[in-house]
Amino acid sequence: MTTFLAQLLNGLTIGSFYALVALGYSMVFGVMKLINFAHGDLFTLGAYLGFSILVGSAGALTGLCGPWVGIALALVVAAIGVAAAGLVVENLAYRPVYRAGRLPLVVSALGISIVIQNAVMVIWGPRYQSFPAALVPQTAFGTGDFRITALQLFILVFSLILMAAVWFLIEKTSFGIAVRAAALDRETATLLGINYRTVVRFIFILGPGLGGIAGVMVGAHYGRISFTMGWVYALKAFTATILGGIGNIPGAMLGGLVLGVLENLFSYYVSDSWTDVFVTLVLIIVLVFRPTGLLGERRADKV
């Protein structure tokens, strides 16, 4: 039983990474019907910004106040930095191309993704970087099969709080209503006085910001970062988004958590090398019975 709980907990941790990244995809797609391919690379940028801050100034801070302060600073800087990067990406790669239609937008997204990835490689080098063990909190609890680090606990709790905050924002505030309205029908929303540009700017701040935070947490948890790390997470987060229902924000969070848990359980009880096969199979089965995803709304066919 304890092993099952341990695997479940670990799956939730991985799942929360996927969920935070998936939120970015879902929000952008929901409002703009655009798959932001650069999102995975913004996640990578977050990890590297956190790394630089931790190794740079936070290193000194950590010496004074302990590793948690360093991590907190890294999270804040990464969130702000990547949010700013997200805005720049929107202005540079998407805004000039909106009028050209969907396909040029996709090409532009792929292009900016390559640019960011290679920029990270040029700035920080193509070799792996590691979050130094001395600058990351190392305390752990539990014995035997059930071992959890303080950092993992923090990641889990912090991610859940973030997701709850986003959910509250989207479902319960009037700005959230504006975002949902813009996602449902852009023209009617603008007719009703919702500023579409403001909504777009908002999602390009929140989505990448969350991705950046996820990046720092992944870097701190696993230790190793590389300029290609975004690709695998982006793919999994995208799968999570589809699983939960694309355009649906609670769906993205649920999809991420479910994906993480499934992956971990399959990997432990069956075999690690077959995990991707099984998880994709689950996705296909879900889509067969619920084409719009787990929480996706059933759209009536318009006649």
């Binding site: 695997q7 080098g125 990997s267 090398s273 995990t275």
Partner: protein
């Protein structure tokens, strides 16, 4: 009107750029040797060391007057550590008219490139590709390698298991050509021990490379209580695996195959996690004792402030040396003559020992050794009992 002008200038620029790549190497005073290496991607460290090693070897030869009156120039092609880009890199070198190539790192990555080079009559010398199937699956007419071959390694592993008296052995790989090859050979060579009931293979499975979370696989391994855990694939995953294993409380002996031990592995895992683990490898750069090795390592250190992190990079330098020796013997840069000369090479002294190849292109006489990591993340030879 403005649009057509823009379109015209773009196409003109594109044309100009593509033409600049077509300049043939018509200068007979320069011998271009291609180097295909993973400069970017997951094995970027190995690629950079290989490039630096090849450049050092070339500059040492050039300082002594070059070869046949020609100065050596290294033409780099980045294969990003994956088979698709490897084929592209090979194409790039071939279309530039390069006839002698050293490359690459990673057997699964070298195979498509080697096929392409062979089909165009280009001589290629692999330096970091030890899978048996590279030379045994089919006869390639112009392929050589300065590194050893994995069946030597797996046979050595079986000896290690026997000498250390490990009863419960776990073998883990990543489904790559190289990793799976070593794992299967290890299983094969352990068979006599298994049938004599001296040892038991309690785990034989693969992990998915490219992921960062292997805690589930590690937990599963932990429940099986192995005495010895043999990981047969690359350092990028090995570092994460051992780090997560030690965090989960899996303390058994970790043995890495020849793509695991290098400074990147220690960097990813941390000194505490790698302490005490054993590595199978061909002789490591810091333990090479030939005069050529001393000369090479000194020159490398002078240029780059440290010695190469792995032996594969040194093999890349020896690839350059082997090609140069062959050109000298054949007194020509014609690929067919160079190939014949390579097969017949004798008395050519390389950094890693004498450069001799058998009729399948494999390097002769490559020894395998056991190394151990201490608590500072440094390797030292580990004598078998």
């Amino acid at each position: 009107m403005k649009r057509t002008a823009l379109l015209a200038s773009f196409s003109l620029a594109a044309l100009a750029l593509s033409l600049s790549g077509c300049a043939k190497n018509a200068d007979s005073k320069v011998l271009t040797i291609g180097l295909q290496a993973p400069i970017s991607g997951q094995y970027a460290a190995e690629g950079q060391w290989a490039r630096q090693s090849a450049e050092t070897a070339a500059s040492l030869i050039n300082a002594k007057g070059g070869v046949e009156g020609m100065q050596i120039k290294i033409e780099l092609a980045d294969d990003a550590g994956n088979p698709k880009d490897s084929a592209l890199a090979a194409q790039k070198l071939i279309s530039k008219g390069v006839k002698l190539v050293v490359g690459s790192y990673g057997s699964g990555i070298t195979i498509p490139a080697a096929d392409l080079y062979d089909s165009k009559g280009v001589v290629s010398v692999g330096y970091g590709c030890t899978a048996v199937r590279l030379t045994m699956e089919k006869q390639r007419s112009n392929f050589f390698r300065t590194c050893g071959r994995d069946d030597t390694q797996s046979a050595f592993f079986a000896k290690v298991v026997e000498k250390l008296g490990a009863k419960r052995v776990a073998i883990m790989h990543d489904n790559s050509d190289y990793g799976k090859g070593v794992a299967e050979d290890a299983k094969k060579f352990l068979e006599p021990l298994v049938s004599a009931k001296k040892t038991e293979i309690i785990y034989y499975d693969a992990i998915t490379p490219g992921n960062t979370d292997y805690t589930a696989a590690v937990q599963k391994l932990k429940t099986l209580k192995p005495d010895l855990w043999f990981y047969t694939s690359y350092y990028s995953e090995a570092g994460l695996l051992i780090k997560q294993a030690r965090q989960a409380g899996l303390d058994c002996l970790f043995v890495g195959s020849n793509a695991v031990p290098n400074p990147e592995f220690v960097k990813i895992a941390g000194n505490a996690a790698v302490k005490g683990s054993l590595m199978l490898n061909e002789p490591m750069p810091q333990f090479l004792a030939t005069p050529e090795a001393t000369e090479f390592l000194d020159a490398y250190k002078k240029a780059y402030k440290e010695i190469p992190g792995s032996i594969w990079a040194v093999y890349a330098a020896d690839g350059v040396n082997a090609l140069v020796a062959a050109v000298k013997t054949a007194k020509s840069t014609d690929p067919a003559k160079v190939t014949t000369a390579m097969r017949a090479l004798s008395g050519a002294k390389g950094i890693t020992g004498e450069l001799m190849f058998d009729d399948r292109g494999d390097r002769k006489n490559v020894p395998y050794q056991l190394y151990a990591y201490d608590d500072k993340g440094e390797l030292s030879p580990y004598p078998l009992p």
